[in-house]
């Protein structure tokens, strides 16, 4: 991949900024990445400030910094700050949109075969409660990514019956990166709302909303962004279908009493309608620091390093660890590396590596139900790399895996 690379001294700097690299070998970035020191400092200092000044008083004093996070996120994604809402976590943000939609019996939700288990459960709940139908778009076997011609056919055939396209940019269990730009184009052409779950993509590659048309995007702080847990954000396209949607929950932040209106209340304009009054400002500010820190490196530079490390790991797994099958597919891959080892359960691989302070995760079938059932897999081991991981750490992982058999 051409373009600016992280130099060896950049990697040293990234690692010395990451205190966790002194104690663990962390290949669970797709679960929750190690936070860099600046993020830790922001969260700790703001919490302390609340203790000294009072929670509301600290928020008032930090107003400019709190507002600046909307700017930072908007800058990273190329959208505007009023299109961003703070949410407790990405799932709650996704739920806010999904469960606020006025589905009725016979409406179709279109999704991918690698869709995340949580989202699938929500589809099934909506199926049971409102009679919604679910249409699953398969991957193109020749490219490994979502088959966009199959998606086109589905939306053309379904017409007005298709009420939502809900797709995860990168699945939880695989290194594939779906063509969000092409999916967005199709949705725009057919005027179908597109909800993009970008949990695994934000922070590991450039996500440019000037290129990807979607009606909403959900993201989490704790994965590739390297922010604190318990925080996410929601993007709502001001030209899109969800800008004027009435959220199913309202509070003093998102609406105000209005005796002059027939309903007695008015929902506030903008993405703010999807926010709650109560939120963790420490985590919001921490996520803001994480966004700035990522943008300082450059998302394209980050992607290059991550892809280099992931390819290195995939190659070494196949070349050096007997009985290993790398289970990633796709013309375009990212930092998630998934594999199975013959004769060793995924959970046992994870446990054995943990004894050597190597963190990986084990992705179960229920997390990616359609895909895992199709491939007849009960679990895959997931070793997800980030730019602060080193090639030496990959060697230690490979050596430890060799010792398993």
């Amino acid at each position: 991949m051409a373009g600016k690379q992280m130099t060896p001294s950049d990697v040293v700097e990234a690692r010395s900024d990451t205190p966790g690299t002194r104690s663990v070998i962390h290949f669970n970035n797709a679960g929750a990445a190690l936070m860099p020191q600046p993020v830790l400092d922001t969260v700790g200092e703001y919490t302390e400030l609340e203790a000294y000044k009072g929670g509301y008083e600290a928020a008032a004093a930090a107003k400019n910094k709190i507002d600046a996070v909307y700017q930072s996120i908007a800058g990273m994604l190329s959208c505007s700050p009023d299109e961003i809402a703070s949410v407790e976590n990405a799932t709650r943000g996704w739920d806010y949109i999904f469960y606020s939609l006025p589905f009725s019996a016979g409406d179709v939700v279109i999704t991918s075969e690698t869709e995340y288990g949580s989202n699938v459960t929500s589809f099934l709940q909506m199926k049971r409660s409102r009679g919604v139908l679910v249409e699953v778009i398969p991957n193109d076997p020749s490219t490994g990514v979502l088959d966009v011609s199959s998606l086109s056919n589905a939306v053309a055939t379904l017409g007005k019956q298709a009420k939502l396209v809900a797709i995860s940019h990168i699945p939880t269990n695989n290194g594939v990166v779906h063509p969000a730009e092409k999916i967005g184009s199709i949705c725009r052409e057919y005027d179908i709302p597109f909800l993009l779950d970008a949990c695994q993509s934000v922070g590991q590659l450039p996500v440019d909303l000037g290129q990807i048309h979607c009606d909403a995007l959900t993201a989490t702080s704790r994965k590739y962004l390297r922010g604190p847990r318990g925080q996410g954000f929601l993007y709502v396209n001001k030209q899109g279908h969800f800008w004027d949607l009435e959220p199913m929950y309202l509070d003093v932040r998102s609406a105000r009493n209005d005796e002059s209106s027939p309903s007695g209340y008015q929902v506030l304009p903008g993405a703010i309608r999807y926010e709650n009054f109560e939120r963790s400002y420490a985590n919001w500010l921490g996520m803001g620091t994480a966004v700035d820190y990522a943008c300082k490196w450059g998302l394209d530079v980050i992607e290059r390093r991550i892809c280099f490390l992931a390819e290195t790991l995939r190659r070494r797994l196949e070349d050096e660890v007997k009985g290993t099958t790398v289970t990633d597919y796709g013309d375009r891959k990212c930092g998630i590396v998934s594999f199975t080892i013959e004769g060793v359960e995924g959970a046992d691989v994870k446990a054995a590596l943990a004894k050597e302070k190597i963190n990986v995760s084990c992705s179960k079938a229920s997390s990616t139900p359609f895909d895992m059932r199709k491939r007849k897999l009960s679990s895959v081991v997931r070793a997800s790399v980030h730019y602060y991981n080193s090639e030496d750490e990959i060697t230690l992982l490979i050596e430890a895996l060799k010792r398993l058999r």
Partner: protein
């Protein structure tokens, strides 16, 4: 006598300009007599900078941020100052203890002192500072 000097008696001809940026972002420029510490200058001008141990290097309540230009010109902090600075809230690269930075025409002209948002006020050897 706390603060050590009377602001009305500061000689403008020999004084050093010092700018304070308060916690709400507001700025105040004052004239400091040479040799006066940032803590002295703050107290003489009713700027809220606590000095719980009264400049004896036994706390971090007079923690301030010095503008980068001036920071580079100051003498390095002593080990004793660094030990107390380590306990300060929101420590940064340009942190110093206000009781250890003194006004000097050669190095601190137009120095900008920013007050941190909070201080960690631990009781020092059982001593509890009384309001001045």
């Amino acid at each position: 006598m706390h603060g050590g000097y009377d602001v009305s008696k500061v000689d403008p001809a020999t004084a050093v300009e010092m700018e304070f940026v308060d916690r709400d972002g507001s700025k105040r420029t004052v004239l400091a007599p040479e040799g006066a510490s940032v803590l002295d200058v703050a107290h003489a001008n009713d700027i809220e900078l606590e000095g719980a141990c009264e400049g004896s290097l036994a706390c971090s309540t007079c923690h301030v941020y010095v503008d980068e230009d001036t920071y580079g010109k100051l003498d390095e902090p002593t080990d004793d100052e660094n030990d107390m600075l380590d306990l300060a809230f929101a420590l940064k690269e340009n942190s110093r203890l206000g009781c250890q930075v003194v006004a000097d025409r050669k190095t601190t002209e137009k120095m900008e002192i920013t007050l941190p948002q909070a201080t960690r006020n631990m009781a020092v050897d059982g001593y509890v500072a009384k309001p001045h």
